[in-house]
């Protein structure tokens, strides 16, 4: 089965995936309507990626009172909006906060774009990867190993880390400016 993985060492918090995701699913560029959310904290040079892990025996699927969440061929749990009654139980049940709401309060979640995730395509830093389980886990290991080798974990500040943080901060400011008052 194909899975989505995020190499968080690579993520600069540029939010491009959010824009791509919201455009692909709803035709608007709005991070609030994205299925993937990047929470950035430039001051500590970290970003946390909130996205659907497509759990096995997923909580969202189990709590849905109308069986509107079903796993499709690509392994994604997909919401059937013809059945969804908008009770939001799935969002409250998700332990990762990966289900959010659109402005009509309908739940939205990652559907792996039917097997061709847009976020993977647009990520300029190869932070989001999609592929067979073994391949993704290998990529993640490689990223961790690289991180260790280049002193990303622990250790002192390096030019590479500073550059990453600056990149993220600039991009965030730009988005902030464009969407005044938007909380990210």
């Amino acid at each position: 089965m194909f899975v989505l993985g995020v190499i968080y060492e690579n993520c600069t918090g540029c939010h491009l995936c959010e824009l791509a995701c919201s455009y692909k699913h709803g035709g608007t560029f709005n991070p609030l309507l994205s299925r993937i959310t990047i929470l950035t904290k430039p001051e500590v040079q970290t970003s946390v990626q909130v996205y659907c892990l497509q759990c096995n025996d997923a909580a969202c699927e189990r709590v849905c009172p109308v069986d509107a969440i079903k796993r499709d061929k690509s392994g994604a749990y997909v919401i059937d909006y013809s059945r969804c009654i908008g009770c939001r139980e799935c969002a409250y049940a998700c332990p990762f906060g990966a289900i959010s709401f659109d402005f009509k309060a309908r739940p939205i979640k990652c559907d792996l774009c039917g097997g061709e995730p847009e976020c993977v395509d647009v990520c300029p830093h190869d932070a989001i990867i999609f592929g067979p389980e073994e391949k993704v886990s290998r990529e993640l290991k490689r990223a961790k190993a690289t991180g260790v080798a280049y002193g990303i974990y622990g250790g002192a500040e390096s030019p590479y880390r500073r550059k990453k943080a600056e990149e993220a901060e600039n991009f965030l400011r730009e988005i902030w400016k464009r969407n005044e008052g938007l909380e990210l």
């Binding site: 909580a59 009770c87 409250y92 049940a93 332990p95 709401f101 659109d102 909380e183």
Partner: protein, 148 residues
């Protein structure tokens, strides 16, 4: 924050203090907190959309107001209980006098939310900050809702 205001219900935070039940201004409290093997469940209207109860009501007594509240007009209700038959949450139920009871969100100022000190009931926009606060293990949550 844009988007409509919603009642967010997080039973895993509930401690069973019943403050919300006491705070409910309805004659028969529209919120009920039953004990379950895993903790306390919160039985109150989710204000679904499209709500099955609205679909099942043939008397036009249930409808969705502009702000998203699923509203029960007692004047039009005949207590035929069709809504109770299709509600998966038991949130619209038969009161002791035979009237149907359902949360009306107190016209946009839910008193239960004001009363809840645990953050188990929140009223806010669609992406709400309060939701992101500590989450309990999913297994615990499922046991509260009776799935494990």
């Amino acid at each position: 924050m844009s988007g409509k205001q919603l009642l967010h219900i997080l039973p895993e935070r509930c401690t069973g203090c019943m403050d919300c039940v006491k705070a409910c201004p309805m004659e028969e409290p529209a919120i009920r907190i039953p004990k379950t093997p895993g903790g306390w469940d919160i039985v109150v209207c989710r204000h679904c959309s499209p709500a099955p109860c609205v679909d099942a009501c043939k008397f036009g007594a249930l409808w969705v107001k502009e702000d998203g509240t699923v509203f029960l007009a007692k004047e039009l209700c005949t207590s035929c209980k069709a809504c109770a038959a299709v509600c998966p949450f038991g949130a619209v139920f038969l009161g002791p006098t035979g009237e149907m009871v359902k949360c009306d969100l107190c016209n946009g100022e839910p008193k239960c939310v004001e009363a809840c000190k645990e953050g188990a009931l929140l009223y806010g926009g669609t992406p709400d900050k309060g939701l992101a606060r500590e989450r309990k293990p999913v297994r615990e949550l499922l046991s509260i809702r009776g799935f494990v």
